[in-house]
Amino acid sequence: MSSDDDEDALTWAGGRDPSHYETPAAKPVPPAKPAKKNSATAPADSDARSDAAADVPDEDELPAPMSSVVLVSLGILGGIYLLYTVGWVVSWQRFVYGAADVLGLVVFQIQQVLAILAPPLWFVTTILLTRNRRPAARLLWLLIGALVLIPWSFTFGR
């Protein structure tokens, strides 16, 4: 009994915890093993081996992880685009267009809706279509949009 207590002092309490789970270390994918040693199926085995090797993605083919600077920049630009959208909504509420004809009024209201949709449209389109481009190109396109889509009508406040 006393010897067990001594051994307890030399071990970690969590070591016997049944809920403790040791995660396995990440191992590289082993090459495919030949299924049979039969010489008649040797060509088929080599094909299977080459297929399995092709399935394992090469490190060069994997997309480069996005750096934290790019991620933060995308977040800031996303916030700017969100503010632009709010700005266009406010400008819609602020300005009343007195068109002489109904058609002109309808066209203007459609344009106001399009102006509100423009920042999210530009942002989503850029993010989706520049997935495989360099981060600098993505940020450049988003910066161009941030310059083009400034809600000027919001800044002409009364």
Partner: protein
């Protein structure tokens, strides 16, 4: 005997400018033309109206000209960028271009109301 690797058939078909793409280009062309028509009307009428009131010096020429140039420029840019894209991407480019033009139009109307 070796065979040449063939490209996926979808790529070539999607890049070709077929009739759906032509319809999309015409529809967005008409929408941009509508905006252009209004801008040309403003370019003609606004200076005349201001001149009649003796305020010819206040004519915002740069804004009136920008409103005329932008629909054409945006449409051309969207058309050129979408040439090698799929129909969906081409349509998206035209829509984004129209939205940018809408931003400019709403902004210019707000400018003329407040200046």
């Amino acid at each position: 005997m070796t065979t040449e690797p063939t490209a996926p058939s979808g790529d070539k078909a999607s890049v070709r400018y077929g009739w759906p793409s032509i319809v999309v280009a015409i529809v967005f062309g008409l929408l941009n033309a509508c905006v252009l028509w209004n801008a040309i009307g403003n370019l003609v009428n606004v200076p005349a109206g201001l001149a009649a009131q003796g305020l010819a010096s206040l004519t915002p020429w740069w804004l009136l000209i920008l409103d005329v140039v932008l629909p054409v420029a945006a449409y051309v840019v969207a058309f050129v960028m979408g040439r090698r894209q799929t129909l969906l991407v081409r349509s998206t480019f035209f829509l984004v271009a129209l939205a940018v033009v809408a931003c400019s139009t709403v902004g210019s109307i707000a400018y003329t109301q407040t200046h």
